[in-house]
Amino acid sequence: METIHTRIWQEEAEPDNSFAAATCHCHGYDVYGDLLVHASWIEYLFLLFRGEAPSTQQARLLEGLAIALANPGPRDAAVHAAMCGGVGGSTSASCLMAALAVGAGASGGAREMRLAMEDWLACGTDLALWQTGLAANPVADPADVWPAPGHPAGFDPHGVRCATPVRQTLAYLAGLGYGTAQDCAPSLAWLQANRASLESAAGLPLAMHGVAAAALRDLGFSPAQGEMLHLLLRLPGAAVHALEQKDYGHKNFPFFRIELENDPGPANTSHAGDAA
């Protein structure tokens, strides 16, 4: 028989039905007999990705990050996309698919998170390496499905100065590591201490992605795991704003104005095109 290999999940079948699991173990823990009773959602999330239970500090850090990321608000492109589904009465799944598709991008999305985490892998807490990396322009790969990043990952391409929520999140998350027997947030602490130098090198203010990338590195996640978590953790806001706009209806949703630069006009629509 063909098989599925996994190090994450183990099941034992019910005695009378091989298609129903009697026990499910996640990384060795009994999900319904132990975790359900004793673990929090955020602890279980950490366990799923990392394979080990988090320390109290790690759970607090992931919890704080999850709150910071849960809802970027209706101005965010991914949430905007989800609302485009909600307002037309599209299926719930399609609203989240829209949020995932747009929120996957290299500008404000999960791809940016991955790139920011790769920068952490390459530069660590070496300020000179960061300054060299941030000074270099991103190189476009014509054979890559991802468009070239337009700005250094983790920084706000349209920012004036580091926004208040970003500074609040960085201060809180970095503070979680202080005063504990095992410092669980060294990257966050270093980021807070060197934010001004990094912003100067990038020519842009730090964005939430930059904070989240440092937090996820401190939690031991790989860039690929960080990309996945970013997609997951931002879905709650997309979901509720999509539902809300469905209630408000399309007459209360922006439709914007368009200025067509090559309109052939009503009398000459049959053969006109971009060449007009």
């Binding site: 209706p74 492109a77 991914a78 996309a81 485009c84 598709a101 922006p254």
Partner: protein, 272 residues
């Protein structure tokens, strides 16, 4: 047989008449060789065949092509297209943006849901009228029970600019006398003469045409899944080619907050 025994029967194998690839050799598509028997089909003919298992006349295919070309608008304000465009401005991939935009097209007030409902209504009404039912009474009942008829009325503007050019091609191909098409225009007449003042939109016309071509409501629904597709890549590309984040940027002042006043959080559960 049911339950786990039924599942046991199907472990590790798929019994199907739909098709398979024989790597390095050939591909079978609904019982026919893709490269020989179906090799002369254009893409839309193959797509229609993939859903219905039936072939269509050249005249019917001309109309089916027009249905598609008249339904793809590269306007990034439209909600489904806007998803593709937002993917471009957020520097996501074209595949992600367009696939999500297609998924969003299965909406209640446009796209997938009205398409299916309209075709189901026209098909059902046609059968009932043939059996002697009164169409006006059927329309009244449908409006009373479902508060609308898919394919009639439009969320932004009352009329549909696609009706006339599509009908021109239908007439050109000599397909204007189909029974569902006649019934669809009769429904429009009833709706316009009543207090509803609803014109037929392109969904109503397309549903009637496809019903006349022998498509079931489900087949019509599946045929229409990618009908907005050609309008989406331009929306993605336009946003992707401009600087990031420039598509419909939203400042904080656009939000009109209507919720409760500010208040402090008081945790009712202990921390982790």
């Amino acid at each position: 047989m049911n339950g786990p025994q039924l599942l046991e029967e199907h472990i590790g194998r798929l019994v199907t008449r739909m098709g398979a690839i024989f790597p390095g050799e050939r591909a079978v598509f609904r019982g026919q060789d893709l490269f020989t028997s179906l090799g002369d089909l254009d893409w839309l003919e193959l797509y229609a065949f993939s859903i219905t298992g039936r072939r269509y006349t050249p005249q019917q295919m001309r109309v089916l092509h027009v249905i598609w070309t008249h339904t793809s608008y590269p306007d990034a304000r439209l909600w489904n297209n806007r998803v593709a465009a937002l993917a471009g401005t957020a520097r996501s991939t074209g595949s992600l943006g367009i696939a999500a935009a297609l998924a969003v097209s299965e909406a209640q007030i446009y796209g997938g849901v009205p398409q299916l409902r309209c075709c189901e209504f026209l098909t059902r009404a046609k059968i009932m009228v043939d059996e002697g039912a009164d169409l006006e009474a059927l329309v009244h009942t449908e409006l009373k029970e479902k508060r609308g008829i898919g394919g009639y009325g439009r969320p932004i503007v009352p009329t549909d600019e696609r009706i006339a050019p599509t009908m021109a091609i239908v007439r050109e191909q000599g397909l204007e006398n189909g029974p569902h098409l006649k019934l669809a225009f009769e429904v429009e007449r009833i709706l316009l003469e009543g207090r509803w003042r609803m014109h037929m939109n392109i969904v109503g016309l397309d549903a009637a045409i496809c019903a006349d071509f022998g498509m079931s409501p489900r087949e019509f629904n599946y045929f229409f899944i990618p009908v907005f597709l050609a309008g989406m890549p331009p929306c993605y590309l336009d946003a992707a080619e401009k600087p990031e984040g420039l598509l419909f940027p939203l400042p904080c002042r656009v939000m009109l907050y209507e919720g409760v006043s500010h208040r402090p959080w008081r945790s009712k559960t202990p921390n982790i």
